[in-house]
Symmetry: C2
Subunit: 218 residues, 2 copies
DNA sequence: CTACGATTCGAACTACTGTTTTAAACGCAG
DNA sequence: CTGCGTTTAAAACAGTAGTTCGAATCGTAG
């Protein structure tokens, strides 16, 4: 019978996640992964079929719960009579990734590093995967913000939605990579980052429309 | 005698830049580069010494002018009597990358793709290079914003500075990658993106400080 | 022209990649 | 015990990676 939790499978996934986050997907060899996980080389192809399939498995293991939490938060907000405010929507979007690194510190941190590493390296392989995984979430949040910000046009809102995502992604990468913070390794202050990030995003989203023809200085 | 402009060198740099932007640095082979550039394989090691040296050369060719333009814009603002406003500082930071893609459309676009691709793939190799290249610019803009936003504490300002960078980077990647826009290939509307981006960032930077203990929802 | 350094070329080298195959062992359900 | 899914071990596969080398070629100074 297929064991519900194969130790070998999990060890491979965790080792791969760690090494991908450190050195990138392309440069990490299966031999490095199986050596780190202390399993046999052939085990990867036995359990996953190929390196590409392993890569997808590494991502899907984490992205799924994260996006589900985002949708759940929005569901809670929308059960109320009054529509959610901008602040609430932003918080609902940001909180899961903060919570993720807080609850499951070790694993959360590793995956956060992987996200920061991969965000753009994405290239051919992952652009599709990410688009598929995020499409539903973006759609929901776009709708929520449309109601929370009725004075914004669709195009304006679309841009600001992307700015929000960019600010969030970079804040994660920043707090993981660039802030040495507090002596020992591996303790990014994502909660602190979010406390600063939310007012920033809210103000940006609520900002009045673009200036017409900004001064040209040459 | 060493020719001032080696056609082979430039062809290698451009081909490498293009291929790196498409498929990443690690997965792009020297054979693919030299084939695309229609030069001999050994030419890379002859002109650059190694693949790593070639990679550094590709980045440095573009980042230098970009950051110099940012500093120049700030210089102009600071020759006046009154200190620059928030809007002016943000524009000074954003404008060069927009201008870059507008003036030299082909090359600018390729490098923009490369930036979007590399932003995080950075890994061991480039984190140091980027830190070195950006250190001066960040320092200057931090100082300028400190004066333009006197009510912000150093920590708050530091975070918002990073949010700004994140929003900018993502806006670039977004307008390059994710917006199909207007029929044919290769025409990202970075000017349109900036028109939307600046008010967003300004509002975020000018926002009042963080809320204390945001509502916990579980 | 000759001579010489810079450049290009073709070919090879070593190392490592993902994958597959063989065989033998392990652990546990029927 | 007999099976069967799982895991290991060792080896080999074909393909590709970065790098190196010696000879051929180029461009120009003397």
């Amino acid at each position: 019978m297929k064991p519900l939790l194969s130790s070998t499978r999990e060890r491979i996934l965790s080792a791969a996640e760690r090494l991908f986050a450190e050195g990138g997907v392309a440069t990490t060899s299966l031999r490095a992964i199986t050596s780190q996980a202390r399993v046999n080389l052939a085990a990867v192809n036995y359990h996953f079929g190929s390196k590409d399939a392993l890569i997808e498995a590494v991502y899907e293991r984490r992205i799924g719960p994260l996006n589900r939490a985002r949708l759940r938060n929005l569901d809670v907000l929308e059960t109320r009579a009054e529509p959610p405010t901008v602040v609430e929507v932003v918080e609902a979007f940001v909180e899961p990734i903060v919570d993720f690194s807080a609850h499951d510190a070790k694993q959360g941190l590793v995956f956060m590093r992987l996200l920061a590493q991969t965000y753009a390296e994405a290239a051919q392989h992952f652009r599709k995967l990410f688009a598929r995984e995020y499409a539903g979430v973006i759609k929901r949040y776009r709708a929520a913000l449309t109601h929370a910000l009725p004075h914004l046009g669709p195009s304006e809102l679309e841009w600001r939605l992307q700015f929000m995502i960019g600010a969030v992604n970079h804040a994660v990468a920043d707090s993981v990579y660039l802030r040495p913070l507090a002596g020992d390794a591996a303790a990014p202050d994502l909660r602190g980052a979010a406390r600063e990030l939310v007012p920033f995003i809210v103000a940006g989203l609520e900002a009045r429309g673009p200036r017409l023809a900004p001064a040209n200085r040459h």
